[in-house]
């Protein structure tokens, strides 16, 4: 008599849709005991039809719904849209406006990475204090945003042809001071969290994504760079003022959760350096070209690419000669990384307790993936 084959008992756990760590989505986890058998991302709980809304708005009105995609990172998202509009309308941007754009984009990247970093600390279950620190420290960035634009989150500061306002007096000095303060705080983060033995145990060698898999599965942003692939739109096709700013593309070779966390950490340090450099070397000049309020485009298309905090955002805009876009296709970074997250359960052995750590290592923003 042969022994009966015991089918593995698969249990299905539904995580969400009420705010699993960040945003509204549902993660379905099939577990075999403690081992994760399969992950399914059930997206769409925050689908608002941004692509359809943009078809019904003029080019200028579209900035506002577009920026709602990622609230922690509105300058980067808004810039992707504004650059596409500038290309279809044939608008040139003054040099100073480009530098102000880069400054805000880097500040937003710090803000967004701080949030991701804090959540990564929280997700391991041991470092709620670090989440509070990052929340306090991002106020430095938000205060600067408020002084410049009047808003702390959704800035709506970029417009086709330039930026809304000039920098207030003494703003550059405050940027340098803020960067110096944050840099000092960051040394504490490294000691308290990244070098902590508990954090290392939770993050080292978890959810390994090899470089060839990262490329094949279409990963982007810190997830791709955490797998050692040096791809960054800011270097590959420099936009705004990035051709004149010194920075390096951060990569880590360990390919695990820790590598992705370290990439974010080191990118914040790069962004702090950039903030200082931009504040010191900001050129003088006009900040905006005059653009008609209801501009009419020629028939054509434009595909803009920007590096947001979560990875590459593409805005493919088609026009037919009207006052609004004919179609806007948004290539969202989180949607690409969510596919990678689904496949990670097959690429590496995960335990069910690892899932919050792993999902935060891809830094999802479901408003971004759902649009």
């Amino acid at each position: 008599m042969t022994e009966p084959v015991i089918e593995p008992d698969i249990m299905r756990i539904s995580w969400g849709p009420q705010h699993p760590m960040s945003g509204q989505t549902r993660i379905i986890i099939d577990v075999d005991g403690e081992k994760v058998h399969r992950i399914i991302a059930d997206l769409g709980f925050t689908h608002r039809g941004i692509e359809k809304i943009l078809e019904k708005r003029t080019f200028l009105q579209g900035i506002i719904p577009m920026e709602r995609m990622v609230m922690a990172d509105t300058p980067n998202i808004g810039l992707g849209y504004v650059m596409a509009v500038e290309e279809v309308l044939g608008i040139e941007v003054p040099e100073r406006a480009n530098w102000i754009r880069s400054l805000l984009c880097e500040m937003a990247r710090i803000n967004s990475h701080l949030y991701a970093f804090g959540l990564q600390a929280e997700s391991t279950g041991y470092f709620p204090a670090v989440f509070l620190w990052t929340t306090i420290d991002r106020a430095v960035i938000l205060d600067l945003f408020e002084e410049l634009t009047g808003a702390r989150w959704s800035l709506n500061f970029f417009m086709p042809g330039g930026v809304h306002n000039n920098l207030p007096e003494g703003f550059e000095d405050k940027v340098v001071k803020g960067a110096q303060y944050l840099r000092k705080r960051f040394e504490d983060y490294w000691e308290a969290m990244v070098e902590n033995a508990v954090f290392e145990m939770r993050c080292n060698d978890v959810a390994v994504l090899k470089p060839e898999d990262a490329i094949r599965l279409g990963a982007t942003g810190p997830v791709l760079r955490g797998s050692g692939v040096a791809m960054d739109v800011r270097k590959d096709e420099p936009y705004a003022a990035y051709a004149d700013i010194d920075f390096e593309v951060v990569t880590e070779s360990a390919c695990d959760v820790m590598a992705r966390t370290k990439v974010r950490y080191r990118e914040i340090v790069q962004s702090l350096n950039m903030m200082e450099q931009i504040a010191c070397e900001m050129p003088k000049g006009p900040i905006r070209k005059k653009v008609p309020l209801f501009a009419r485009s020629k028939a054509g298309e434009a595909l803009s690419r920007v590096e947001t905090a979560r990875g590459e955002l593409g805005v493919h805009m088609f026009t037919d000669g009207g006052m609004n876009p004919y179609r806007v296709k948004i290539n969202s970074p989180t949607l690409r990384n969510m596919y990678v997250f689904e496949r990670l359960a097959e690429l590496d052995e995960l335990l069910v307790a690892d899932v919050p750590v792993v999902i935060n290592s891809i830094d999802p923003w479901y408003l971004d993936s759902d649009r």
Binding site: L43, G44, H47, G49, E51, K52, I215, R216, L217, G218, T220, V229, M231, D236, E237, E301, L303, R305, E312, G314, H316, F318, R327, K329, N331, S332, L335, R336, M338, Y339, V340, D370, R371
Partner: protein, 157 residues
């Protein structure tokens, strides 16, 4: 002689390899290349894009609706990690026959984007492993929202 960019070299090379199957291949601006092919050769060229031309990094996919011309265009966004330019690989479909072989056999990560194009435009992808709605609710009966003649959920057309 003016040295040619990787974009121009690619366009010339793909035109020479598939002279009959390509409707248009052009460099739109630096770092942007657009290729539109006939539907019959769509999958065959996609395979060679991945294996011979090095487009191993899939980015995204989406569709466009032109009801006046009675056609739709499905576009795939592809990237070559070596030369780092963005290729938009398009194929035109008649609105009466919205069928296309699924690209997931070449780039599996296109899966999410084809699911989105399926629910938003009604294009059916043959051979897709998991054709369930991605963003819309499972009980959605409102039609295909990103089509130009979409009138709103619950409105009969």
């Amino acid at each position: 002689m003016v040295s040619e960019t990787p974009e121009e070299a690619f366009v010339e090379s793909i035109k020479a390899t598939y002279p009959d199957a390509i409707i248009s291949a052009e460099v739109l601006r630096p770092k942007r290349v657009s290729v539109v092919v006939k539907r019959d050769h769509f999958l065959e060229i996609a395979k060679s894009l991945k294996d011979e031309f090095g487009f191993t990094h899939p980015v995204s996919g989406g569709a466009l609706d032109y009801p006046r011309e009675n056609r739709m265009r499905m576009i795939y966004y592809l990237m070559n990690p070596e030369s780092r330019f963005m290729l938009t690989y398009g194929v035109d479909l008649s609105r009466d026959d919205l069928k296309l072989s699924s690209m997931t056999s070449v780039w599996e990560a296109i899966s999410f984007h084809e699911r989105e194009a399926h629910e938003m435009f009604g294009i059916s992808f043959e051979g897709h492993p998991n054709m369930v709605p991605l963003l819309l609710p499972p009980d959605w009966k409102g039609g295909h929202p990103l089509r130009k003649d979409f009138k709103g959920e619950g409105v009969e057309e």
